[in-house]
Structure formats: structure tokens, C-alpha cells
Symmetry: D2
Subunit: 310 residues, 4 copies
């Protein structure tokens, strides 16, 4: 196969403080479909064009944020190989195996903590329950969509301290490409890194910041700038807390809008971007251009956007 | 790297009967940029968001059609490995090595003929001359675009007899995934195959048809359905021969328009589609749904679209 | 008031052969809302952004087509004045008054037949029941829309013989402007006329053709080219008979798609166009450019589009 | 004619502090075409789809702002009638006649000051030099557009003290309709009024504010939300001062972006809206909903937007 190793961000597990309110948000506002609940009360959801059983897991607790992000790898052999390499790398800590079935419809997962403090996991099996339009003479989109109705979970942006270590882990061990970066000061310290295991402009991104294990946003894909406007309208119609947008990012050139779930976890829906290849030169933004890098139209560094995390 | 082996369709070499008219078409109508001419008179062009030196090569001769399609592989080692496997496979014929420099700015290429009669080539090196917006604090799109201004060359659709052999070559040797197929009759004979070496819905596609080595179209990527309308307007403003569209494909669900270059080679510009992964189930269309499979809105089999090839 | 006299096309009364099928089409496919039924079984519908009680009336009978088109005038005084002028003009025939209440929620109507054989009526009163978003802190669009969900009934295109007489009636008596026309042959015979009583590119249009009183289509307004694509998708998803599109008209430069109700009455949904003023020069199309005038991208005279009427 | 009296906002005369910089802005960024300069050095411009000679006039002086706004009326008779009614109304002050030719290609103008302190003028004649696509078999859009390339000058928003008097003048004398209003406090004091002489959602609007004769923005029409994004990109590419957007207004539901010319005069480009009729109920916004009324997505009262005027 031409796509090997880590195939995609397969799930994000979020902590919410009011599960019914969160489920209403993720189904009626964002427009995912609930696909199951497990014995511990976690709620599993997916977007309409995803083949896998689920891509979002919600857990009720007293503090918002991200529990972990899961990555689908191409095979058991790759899973074992990566687990071994991560164990030996010195970059991963708190490594452990989670038994098959701990997540609904999901095989064994290798859990580890990356240098920025975030929990990540790799897995090779999750039941393919199919997308909403099926695989035989499919319609281009399904009936009965509600809310913003993104086609897929796309990526997360995370904040943490040891950006260098995390970038090394993703690029040197897991084979990601560095698609874009922001560098600051005369020494061109890398303060943001956008990483891809695919043709997408990013599958995960990190910002250098003093605290470990902070969550900035989980992002979902829309088809067009027109759908970004519709999402913006839905945010107001449903009295959802808007963060920023609609606008365009300089980084990735995506068209975007940010908002918050009822627990304060930030969501993004976006469209556009470009096709990335591993031999494409990395795009570098200098900190004097941080404004347009983040929000291309405003061109201003927005403190709330940079500092509010869960 | 997560993307390995064959990375992308790197170039398509087209035969045209009037080179100046063709260059005018591919630059002013389609909106590529001419990047060079070689000693044999061939003209090299690229789209604005492509990093590589070129993606389209035009050669003047007495008959239109496609000379060959070239694929960028990830390394010299992969190039040698694939060359060996193709030699041994019994699926590739007329194999040969073309010396570095035969194409401007391009390394050695391994040329071979696939069972449907089309010439293909693999290469590991082509000069990265950069996209039009650069890699330091880039704008989202460059100034001075003309015509439809696609961001990339995307794929070709080709017609030929031994579809089974060609699909085996691309999937079993080169590692492509079968994203969609059309099957006909009670025996579900595969009559069309869409193949991807990436997250794209297709990088090349083939239709079963009695004659060898026929070219249906070369396709270029636009950002939105709005740009498809603009392309349609340009087709009429510039008195270009329209084939079909604007419309949507059932297959790939892309938004599309088809037209002809002055020699009768069909071009497509399109937007949309989905993100493909190698474990995504293949979408199958049955021949009773061939109409919506091809043109989702018309839902009619269009003879000219199916039969006019070069 | 700056807008006086005839304000707008207020309703179109269509004949259908299967009322339940028609109601399903006009509500679930087109996306109007049923607002009432009268004692004679007629069904009244309106689009979501219309203030008036209804804009479409469906009557079941054995033959499809248009019964009449109704025009809202600014006052009773204007209604009486136009009735008198039409009576005296020699251009209107079969004049009559229809009592208030014959249409639900509608005042008296002055009915007359125009030289092309179509029944028209003027009225000054129809109950304003309000648009779906209301008039106090309204949302930009309502929840619960289904189908294509146009904002308004926009215009009709009608076919008939005495185009000259009909154009005189609308321009000389009712004060419409001739926004665009098609002229044919060395004598520049007017074969199509587009007429506006507003800032719209047309409120009604006529094609010269031998038979009297033929109906080509009733048209409804969408917000964008993106919604035209969505309408095209709905046509295929719901197995509706497509006529033509999505494409652009040369005339009015609107973005459009045509389809048929279950009785064979043609519908259009469209977006775009321009702002018309009565002192704007009339746009003239010559018959050698009839192709792009009608369908700008195809640039071909389409026999079915020109000849299939009800 | 169905459109009578005041037909449209025909021109806006703006004061700029650096004429060459302003001309560069209005031609290369906004995308108007310069059509002439007069003996006093004023520069005349128009948008591509306007038939009249000009719609924007720039005058260099030491302070930015609006000199006056001009309205095309349907005839000399109407011009004389309105002049007389305005003289007698007690609502207009500083009335005067300006001779034909004082503006290039323009007939005599009746100048007056409205209760909010703004200079307005009426005129019946301006040379129709035609739009860029002409009136014989026109293309849907012209070649050679630059910048945002709006199709028309659309409206102004003005700030002043005696809102009641100005609304009376426009509605009672000039026949405008009140399309939307904002009311504040228990007494529902009208603090904003949107006025239309056409089917447009507004041709001019006023905000109640203590100072006389303040200019908030001049607005120009785009075709789509996609063009609003393109305008936003151009603002950043050309380093223009952005005010706000892209976003949607609650009022008029238009899609919009605001920015400043080099002298600090605010410009808007927008798309969308609805079709207004004089019998459409006025939309009322209450001051507790002022946030979404102005910027539907942010839903926040923006002090800079409300207070920065020229």
C-alpha cells in the first residue's frame, strides 16, 4: 500500500461536565450520530462519511479536556513494531496496553504519553460499520442530516511544553511529515508544528506553551465555505458560544469557524486546505506574521484564542 | 513515512496537433504556467500549487492522445524495487529505462506498458522548484492567475481492453487501492476501476473497452463548486468546446466540468470528493445505475462522453 | 412609494393530474409549505420568505398547465384604474371580476386574457400572514426547511402567438420594463421578451410560438449557486425528472436548474441575476446567439427545452 | 412604470486626504473603474455592471467623510415636484440647485440637507455610458476585472442626531419604505432605520447618534459569499485595514466584510439579502438583540464598529 503505518486520527476522547448537554451539542449542533454507549457510560459518536464504528468518545467528569487521541495503524504487525519503537525511544512515557473491547468495537490499543503530556494510543482494529451512504450505488450525501453535519473528524490542536520531543516522536518514530511550522525570535524557536500522516494539511498540531497536556480544539471537516457560513448561522441559531470566525487560516489556508461545547472544549469546523506530500517543503511562518498565520483576515494575535484551553 | 511507494501522478504527456494553440489553451484557458521547453520542442507546464518542476508535457505531432503518465515514487530504492517487480510480473511489457535529463529537471524513469496498452513511468527525482506562493509566510493564493487556475494536476481516466490486468498491476504491484468500481451484468464484470495511491478518491481510473491505449481525460483540481461555475463561464467566454457539465459525478461525488483542448484531448476540472483510506470499503456501482454513477444529475448514459477518446 | 402599480407576481395557479403526488412534489421536493385547502379542493402553498398568504395554487384536473397568474397591485384605486385601462385597451379579452374570497385570504381579482392567450389577474388584497422567520429579531433562515426550500416564487415563462400584443399590454398598460429580448432574422423579429415590474431581471417572460396559452415553467428563487447544486442533488435523490442544468443562463445571467412536477409542469429554481432599473438599456440577443442566450455553457439550442410545454 | 420617483442611489461623493492613494484603493482593491476627472480634480469611478456614467466621486481635502449622496429620480417633472415638496416640508434645509455639468455627464441637481445633517441631492439625468458587458449578447461578467470587483454601488450608512426627521423626509416625501429598524429601551426609541426605494433591503440607512453629518460606510454589491471570502483575502493580500468580517448581518441577513480606505472612510462589500416590497412588514430589532442584529455570528456590540465614523 502507498498509505502505510499510521493511517489516520481514529478517535478523540473528550471529557465533558454534563453528558446530556454534550450529547445534544455533538449531535444536534455539530451533527454527529450517536452510535453506542458502553458500560462505563461513555457515549460514542461518528460523522456521516466515516466507515469506522466511532470517532468521538465523550466521558462525563468534573473537568473538561481531552483524555486521549487514538490513531489507526495499518496492521497488527505495525502496531507491535511502533509499540516497541516507542518503548525504546525515550520519548514515550506511561506506556501500556489496553485490552480489546475496552472501547466498543475496537481492538487492543497501545497507550503512551508524548513529551507535551498528551495521551495517545495506536490500534489496528476497529469495526467498519460503514458510512451513512453505503457502498452500493451511494448518494452523494445522506438524508436526515442535522446540525453542521461534518463528513469526518479531522484533527486536534494541542498545547504543551516539550514541543521538540513531541515533534521528534511523530516524525522520527511514527513517520509524520512536518507540513507547517511557526518559528519565533532570532533563534527561530519552533513554537507551533503541524503534522500529517496523510495527504491532509494536518492530522494533529501542537503549540509550545508552558503547561503539559492542554487541549485547544478538535476539528471536523466540512465541504465548502458555504457550509462554514451555515455552521456559523447554526452557532447563532442554537445560542452556542462562538470563539472566532468565519475566517481563513493562513496556516493550511483552510476556511474555518471555532466554537465551544457546553463544557468549554473548543470545536472547529473547516473546509479547504491543500494536498500534502511527504516531499513537499515545510511551510514556515515567522512570529512577526503570527497574526495572518493564525487568522489570515484579522491578522491580529488573539489572546483568547491562544490562551483558552481545556 | 506514512505515504510510501508511489506518491502521486507526477506528469501526463499529451500529444497535440497545433502546439501554439495548445499552449494558449493550457495557459490562458486552463491556467497552467509554462515552465520550460526542451530541445525536442516539448512544452512543460505546471499548476500554481505544485512544488515539482512540471506536471504536463505537450508534444506536437499528427495525432492527439496521451503519450504516457509518470508517477513519482518515494526513493531510488523504491524505483528499483518496482522496476524489478514489474519486469517479473508478466503484467508489464515494453519495459525500459529512460535516462535522467530526457525530461527537463527529471531523474531516470522506468517506462513500461500496462495491460490496457498505456505507457506508464516511474521516477524518484524531479526538481522541486516550488509552488507559486512559496513556503515562507505564504498567501493563500497567488496574484496573476489566469483562466481556470487549478491548483494541481489530479488524475487521468484511460480506456483499454485488459482492465483485469491493469487493475492487478496497480493494486498488487504498485499498492494502489480500488476506491470505486462499476460492474455489469449478472456476472458483475468489472467495467470501470478507480484507483488511488493516496487519500484522494482517484489518482488514475480505467474503463474496459475493446481498443488498447485510449485516453479519455486529464483532470485538474479546483477548490470549490463556485470555481466550477467560473470555469464553465470561461469555457463559453473563450469559445472552448464544452463536453459536459457543470454537474456532479456519482462516482467520487466530485463536482465537475469537461471540455476539449484544441486537438480534441478531453480536460476536466473538478472540486470535492472525499478522503480515501486503504481500509475503506470499495464503492460498487451496478450498470443499471451507470447513469447516476457517471453524471449524478442527468442520470443518463451519455454516448459521446463514453465513446469520444483520443 | 417608489414601487407603485403592479408590485409583484403574487400567485401562479397550476393544473395537476394527481393532487397528492403534486403536493408531495411541491412540499417535499421543491420545499414550499402547504397553507390551506379550499372548498373546491385546491391546495395553497407558499415559500418560506413570502409575507403573503400563498403564492402557488394547485388544482387537480385531467390536463397539466397553468390556469392563471396573479399580480399584486398597490391599491384598490390602482386595481380599478388598470381594470378600466385593460377593458379599453383592445389588448385584454375575456375580462371579468372574481369576488373576494374565491381564493383563500384574497380580495377581488380582475381577470383577463392577454394576446398570447394566458389568463392573468390583478388584485390589491391578500392576507399578510408573514414569513417563516417573522419580523421581530428574525433568524436569517427558519428551522425545519425541507427540499430545495426556495425563498420566493419568482416568475413564469409562457409561450404564445401574439407576443407583440402581450408585450404592449405589459409595457404600455401595466408599466413593465423590457429587460431583455431575443430577436431573429434580418427583420429582427422579437421572439422572446423578458419583462420586469421591479428591480428583478424578470417577473414574467414570453416566447413567440404558434399556439396560444402554453406554460413553460414557474420559477422559484434560491440564494446561491451552492443551493442550485443541492437542488440538483435532491432531484436525483428523489428521482425527479430533470430537464436541464445546473447551468447558467446568458439571459439574466442567472444560475439555474429545470425539472418537472409529476404532471409534467416544468419548475425552475435559480439564483443570481442583476438589479434592473427602468432606465437600464434593454439587453438584446440575436438568434445566432440563441444557444448561449438560453444555456450559456452548452451554447446549443435544446429542442426539448424549447418545445416541451404544458 | 412600476418603479417611479426615486430610482436609486446614483452616487456618493467622498472626501479623501491622499487622492492617488485613494484612487489606487478604489480601483485596485475595491475594483471600480476610473471614468473621468473634472477641472477641480475630482475623480469619477463606477462599478462594472452600472449603466450610468459614475457612482463614486472622490475629492481630495484635509478631512475624510462624505460630501453628499445623489439620488436618480425618474424624470425632470419628478425632480421639480420633489424639490418643491422638500422646500415646503420644513425637513430639508440649505436647499439649492446645482447646474448641469458641475458633475461630469450629469444634469442639474437639487441639493438639500436632511435633519441628520447630511447633504443629499436629486437629479434626473446622468449619461448612460453602459455597463462593461454591453447590451448585445453580453457575457455574464467582463474580462479584466481587478480587486473585489463589485457589480454596483449599493447604499450608505450614515450617523446623525435627528433620526426622526430624516426618516420622515425619506418616507413621507421621497416615498421610501422602512425595511428594518432597531428600537431601544422601554419607549422603543428608534435608534436605527433602514430605508429602501426599491426591492433592495436598503438603499440608505441611518443610526441615531449625537453628532450631525457623520459617515459610517459606503457599500458595494458582490454576487456571493464566495466573493466575500475572496474580498477578505484581497484585504489581507493588499494590506488593507480590515474592520470586521467576513460575517453575516442579522439586519438584512446580508453576508459582509468591512474595511477602510486609506483616509479612514469605511467601505463594505456584501452579498445576499432579500427582496423587499413596500407592503412587507417592517422588521424590528430590540436593543437587547443589537449584537446579532449587527453581526449575527459574533452577537456582540462592537464599539469600534459603532463609534468610528468620518
Amino acid at each position: 500500500m502507498a498509505l502505510t503505518g499510521v493511517l489516520r486520527p481514529g478517535h478523540v476522547a473528550l471529557r465533558v461536565m454534563d453528558l446530556p448537554a454534550a450529547v445534544t451539542h455533538y449531535t444536534e449542533v455539530l451533527g454527529l450520530r450517536e452510535v453506542g454507549r458502553d458500560a462505563s457510560g461513555r457515549v460514542y459518536l461518528k460523522a456521516w462519511d466515516e466507515a469506522d464504528h466511532h470517532s468521538v468518545v465523550l466521558r462525563e467528569t468534573t473537568e473538561a479536556g481531552m483524555d486521549y487521541m487514538g490513531w489507526r495503524v495499518d496492521s497488527d504487525a505495525t502496531l507491535d513494531r511502533f509499540a516497541g519503537e516507542l518503548e525504546r525511544s525515550g520519548l514515550a512515557s506511561e506506556t501500556s496496553w489496553i485490552a480489546a473491547g475496552e472501547h466498543l468495537a475496537t481492538g487492543r490499543r497501545f497507550r503512551f504519553t508524548i513529551p507535551t503530556g498528551h495521551a495517545m494510543e495506536l490500534y489496528a482494529h476497529k469495526e467498519i460499520t460503514g458510512c451513512a451512504t453505503g457502498y452500493l450505488n451511494p448518494e452523494p450525501w445522506p438524508d436526515g442530516l442535522q446540525g453542521m453535519a461534518p463528513s469526518r473528524f479531522d484533527h486536534c490542536l494541542l498545547y504543551g511544553d516539550d514541543l521538540d520531543g513531541t515533534v521528534r516522536l511523530f516524525t522520527e518514530i511514527l513517520g509524520f511529515g512536518l507540513t507547517e511550522q511557526v518559528v519565533a525570535g532570532p533563534d527561530k524557536l519552533q513554537i507551533a508544528a503541524f503534522l500529517s500522516c496523510s495527504n491532509k494539511a494536518h492530522d494533529v498540531a501542537f503549540i509550545r506553551q508552558p503547561m503539559k497536556n492542554k487541549f485547544h480544539h478538535a476539528s471536523f471537516q466540512l465541504d465548502s465555505w458555504h457550509e462554514v457560513l451555515r455552521a456559523a448561522d447554526i452557532i447563532s441559531k442554537k445560542k452556542v458560544s462562538l470563539d472566532l470566525g468565519p475566517t481563513r487560516h493562513g496556516i493550511t489556508r483552510g476556511e474555518t469557524i471555532y466554537f465551544f461545547d457546553p463544557s468549554g472544549n473548543r470545536n472547529e469546523v473547516f473546509s479547504g486546505g491543500y494536498i500534502y506530500y511527504p516531499d513537499k517543503p515545510t511551510i514556515t511562518w515567522t512570529d512577526d506574521q503570527l497574526g495572518p498565520a493564525i487568522f489570515y483576515h484579522d491578522r491580529k494575535v488573539n489572546d483568547a484564542f491562544l490562551s483558552v484551553v481545556t
